[in-house]
């Protein structure tokens, strides 16, 4: 039950919320998920099972001798996704607790 909730329902909700087609139909579909959404909201508020220490930003760190190279490759046109496919610059891998 909970597994289903965290692995299926929440990502689905996120996708729907981020979707560009936030027309009446989208909102209508969102309402159809009111039950699981409410359950998840309360569950995470009470159990906080997704909370962790954000070591990546809460640890004091400094960079030195930064060397940057940026080389233009080409212009991409007609892309349908709003963000870069496969982007991983914000990834965090060292969290002890893995939720999703």
């Amino acid at each position: 039950m909970l597994e289903t909730l965290t692995t299926d329902v929440l990502p689905a909700l996120q996708v729907m919320a981020a979707s560009d087609e936030s027309d009446a139909r989208g909102i209508g579909l969102l309402f159809l998920l009111a039950g699981p959404a409410f359950y998840a909201l309360i569950y995470f508020r009470y159990r906080n099972s997704h909370k962790r220490h954000h070591h990546e930003k809460e640890t004091e760190a400094s960079t030195h001798d930064m060397r940057a190279t940026d080389t233009f490759v080409r212009r991409l046109t007609g892309l349908s996704n709003r963000t870069m496919r496969g982007a991983n610059h914000k990834e965090v891998r060292g969290a002890l607790r893995k939720i999703f």
Binding site: S49, K51, E56, E58, A61, D70, G78, L79, S80
Partner: protein, 437 residues
Amino acid sequence: MTDIDPRSQHPAPQAATAPPGASAESAVPEAAQDPATLAETIAGLSEPEGPQTIQTDAGAKDGLSKCARCGATDISLNVATGNLRCNFCRHEWQSTNMNEAFGLDQGIGELRGVVMGSGSADIIPSTEVVMTFKCSACGAEVVIDTDHSTQARCHWCRNTLSMNQQIPNGAVPDMVLPFKLPKEEAVRKIAEFVGKRKFYAHKRFRAEFNPENVMGIYLPYMVVDVNARAHFRGQGEHQTRSYTVKVGDRDERRYDADLYDVERAFDLHVNDLTVESSSQRLDQTSSNTNNIINSIMPFDVEHAVQYDSNYLAGFTSERRDTNVERLAPIVHTQSQDIARHQALKTLGHYDRGVRWDAEHVEVVGQRWVSAYLPVWLYSYHEQKSGGRSLLHYVAVNARTGETMGSVPINQTRLLGASAVAQAVGTVLAVVIFLVGG
């Protein structure tokens, strides 16, 4: 877990002494950066000469630890001042700040190889956990259970015996961060946290909840400074245009973007990266609530003082039971996360994101210091159906007051409310489809 570099050696407990604040002098040969090996690897430890030890318990004595003014042994932390206080004559004094004594906040850029506090040495499994001391006041034998404290009171003469010398069982760390938040304050924070989560809380929990049962506990951590070289290579996209196109009878959004090859290379200095060092706390799965304790980090470890068992009087403690070797992979992965995060500030141009294809974070030097950090912990054992149980925590960082917790849920009530929400949502959805569709 296995170590990531077979070359890494771990210290046999040794008496090697480095002067306080000594920085590494051994030159480490630069690991040749072969671009072909710029894979998704974390660089290992490179220390040709084995770890260097900072002796942090020099002069420490076991047994009766007496007030310098009156000789009494009833000494404890005065939470209000952060000082140790003689409970007989009220004389107060301060322990030495760890950073000042050993220069732990300095020279991260000069770190080479592995430097570690003597209290961070590997645990030798055969070392006793329950230690017996002879009370020098009356001659009786006093037992200290190092799983829960490094102090005990002599039953006969009521003097307090302390263990301050580091023996290889993980009980005496290099440093301790004293409790700063008084118990009443912790009780108030826990009551407030749970008070906001009562309606859907488990019935039995609601009846039994009593924040006065909070326990002051020193939990074991490793505090690590890391000197690393980071090298990231990949591609990034910068949006140049956003527009709609007609696809059949509907509008769809399209984007144009400039694609770049992106490369970042930098030195990274990480100060006081803090990781749990008790195997129980490291186990963070969905079948426990250890993540709650994890989430109240960070602590102001720069205020930690040289270890003195008197700070534990009136509190309990949890012994460290893991070694540097086990924790090194976590520290390296987290350092890589920090490097990736630090690189973000140079990626502002790439509003569509960056995909790193090669990441290389080589740890050139690292400094490990073991610590007891203070936590107010409220625990509640939830008995579940089928004989299963779950230990819930509400934890308060006893330095910053940051509070987090897990409250057991009344599933019947929550499922009922969710069903009501579903019914209302369905009605609204139907209305929207009829009106808007």
